[in-house]
């Protein structure tokens, strides 16, 4: 299950960039030179502009990702606390019942 989580910066970068500009993913980048070897300077300019926009879009996506992750982490921590609290209550209730059983004879004798 953990493999779904981006394990490396490359994986995260590729996951975000794939839906923005697939040509800029790490697997596609090395192939670009060959792919555009007969490109004119004008075409290269247009492509450069497109890539600049793609990186700007990536920045936004990255920020959104980190924000979402932060929220999810916060929720996770909260649910962890709640789980511990519930467990604590159960344990305490059980411990107090035992104590009450131990103490009741002593108190009635007082």
């Amino acid at each position: 299950m953990k493999s779904i989580i981006p394990l490396s910066g490359t994986q995260l970068y590729d996951a975000l960039m794939a839906s923005i500009e697939p040509e800029l993913t790490t697997t596609e980048l090395p192939l670009l030179e060959e792919k555009y070897k007969s490109e004119t300077p004008e075409q290269a300019k247009i492509r450069a502009v497109r890539y600049t926009k793609a990186y700007a879009e990536y920045d936004k996506a990255y920020e959104a990702y980190m924000g979402d992750a932060k929220v999810h982490l916060s929720l996770f921590r909260k649910s962890a606390f709640q789980s511990l609290e519930a467990e604590s209550r159960t344990k305490e209730a059980s411990a107090l019942s035992v104590l009450e059983l131990q103490l009741l004879p002593a108190t009635t004798a007082l």
């Binding site: 839906s19 990702y65 932060k70 104590l99 103490l103």
Partner: protein, 440 residues
């Protein structure tokens, strides 16, 4: 743009870790000091030029990957620490300092120096103690004045007010084990002392219910300012801290345990906002529900959970103690009133607000003075407070329009000094806001 794998991924983390939480003990929240810092969210313009397209792409992509790596590291580090803490709790690793024990000969030597009656009693008592408590017996004895030591060790010794004062003087220097031993001393309370501890004197002064209008503005603002998330965030005064500590209550779970002894109307949940204050030996607990209904209780400590636990120890040792039944008494509220809804405060950047104080959803805050009000003012003035690093010792900065305008210099080693540093920083930032307003 939404990326569906994100929630899924975090759910997966959550599920994996929640499984391991099933068997985890309880007190992990109090010092959870990690925070998420967006280290790598700095916006940079990456212009790609046609004439250097290949180089630009390589450089920019490299930078983005590095940025992503750093961003992920913050999260993975945090989860690693989380796992580590869980493992520690599961394994209940003993504190090395606590596991040190005294040689048996030294304990014997100490016991043999006592008069026969005391020696016999203590020998019986110490037989059931763990080594740490046997050591505590010796160290406690060394901290007590000689006459007090002899007096305390007498069976049915009657403790006067003066005795209590003397004990009060040494209590701050006692560790948990020494406190255990002190509480096990075979003593009887002087009626005057019993009256004080049972709250008789205090209760007579508190019969009149406290209405909302009787709450001081400072107290009101304290409640409002600190209740950033509407979760179990509370204020605990120094005195209340000492009482909680003395009564062996974990700060984080104090609310939970104490609430068992209170006749609280309605359901108390973890969302309850709690304020602990203390006067003398009385712990005042205010429980403020999510709907703003508040109840205040006066709990004479020493007759509650702590006493009950000690009584159980004594019972198990074949001893009983007058006043055990007090442990079963449910406390009635001394006041019921209505206050501001706790969730509506600090809706801006609640997570950051929590992290500022180094606290988390179920932690408690020790604070007093003008800090809560300063936080409130800072919030109104759009001053953003951030920690510069991920550690508790990292300085805090106050930002206006993204620019750092003030900074703290004190670390977290001394909480009071740390809070004073934040106060100073906020005062400086607020002053700048005022000056800006005037300039306009």
């Amino acid at each position: 743009m939404k990326y569906s794998f994100i929630p899924l991924a975090w759910n997966c983390i959550g599920e994996c870790r929640m499984c391991s939480l099933e068997s985890s003990p309880t007190n992990f929240q109090a010092t959870e000091n990690q925070e998420i810092t967006r280290k790598a969210d700095t916006k940079e313009t990456h212009e790609i030029h046609a004439e250097s397209l290949s180089v630009d792409l390589q450089q920019t992509t490299g930078q983005k990957i590095k940025q992503a790596q750093e961003g992920l590291k913050v999260f993975t580090d945090m989860m690693t620490n989380f796992d580590k803490r869980m493992d520690e709790f599961r394994q209940k690793k003993p504190n090395p300092q606590e596991s040190q024990s005294l040689p048996a000969e030294r304990i014997d030597q100490m016991l043999n120096s006592l008069p026969p009656a005391q020696r016999d009693f203590m020998k019986i008592a110490t037989m059931e103690w763990p080594p740490t408590h046997q050591e505590a017996f010796v160290t406690l004895s060394s901290k007590l004045p000689a006459d007090m030591r002899q007096h305390l060790l007498q069976e049915k010794a009657v403790l006067s007010i003066n005795d209590f004062r003397q004990i009060g003087n040494i209590i701050p220097s006692l560790n948990r084990q020494e406190l255990d031993i002190l509480m096990l001393m075979p003593v009887t309370l002087h009626p005057e002392v019993e009256n004080i501890l049972s709250g008789t004197e205090l209760n007579s002064a508190q019969e009149k219910p406290l209405e909302k209008t009787q709450r001081s503005p400072a107290q009101q603002s304290n409640n409002e300012a600190m209740s950033s998330s509407g979760k179990a965030v509370g204020i605990t005064t120094d005195a209340a801290m000492r009482i909680l500590d003395r009564e062996f209550l974990d700060y984080g779970l104090g609310t939970n345990i104490i609430s068992k002894f209170l006749n609280i109307s309605g359901e108390t949940t973890f969302d309850t906002f709690t304020v602990f204050t203390a006067i003398g030996n009385t712990l005042y607990a205010e429980f403020i529900g999510a709907d703003g209904t508040a109840q205040k209780f006066a709990i004479p400590m020493g007759k509650g959970e702590g006493e009950r636990m000690r009584a159980s120890l004594k019972t198990m040792n074949g001893k009983s103690q007058a006043g055990v039944q007090e442990g079963f008494k449910k406390f009635e509220p001394i006041a019921t009133y209505h206050t501001t809804k706790v969730e509506t405060i600090y809706h801006k950047k609640p997570v950051d607000r929590i992290n500022v104080l180094g606290i988390y959803e179920c932690d408690i805050v020790k604070t007093a003075g003008k800090l809560p009000e300063l936080y409130r003012q800072a919030d109104k003035s759009n001053i953003l407070i951030e920690r510069t690093g991920s550690g508790m010792h990292s300085p805090m900065v106050a930002k206006i329009d993204g620019r750092i305008v003030a900074m703290t210099t004190k670390g977290f080693e001394d909480r009071d000094e740390w809070e004073k540093g934040i106060e100073k920083m906020l005062e400086e930032a607020l002053k700048m806001v005022q000056e800006k307003k005037k300039a306009r």
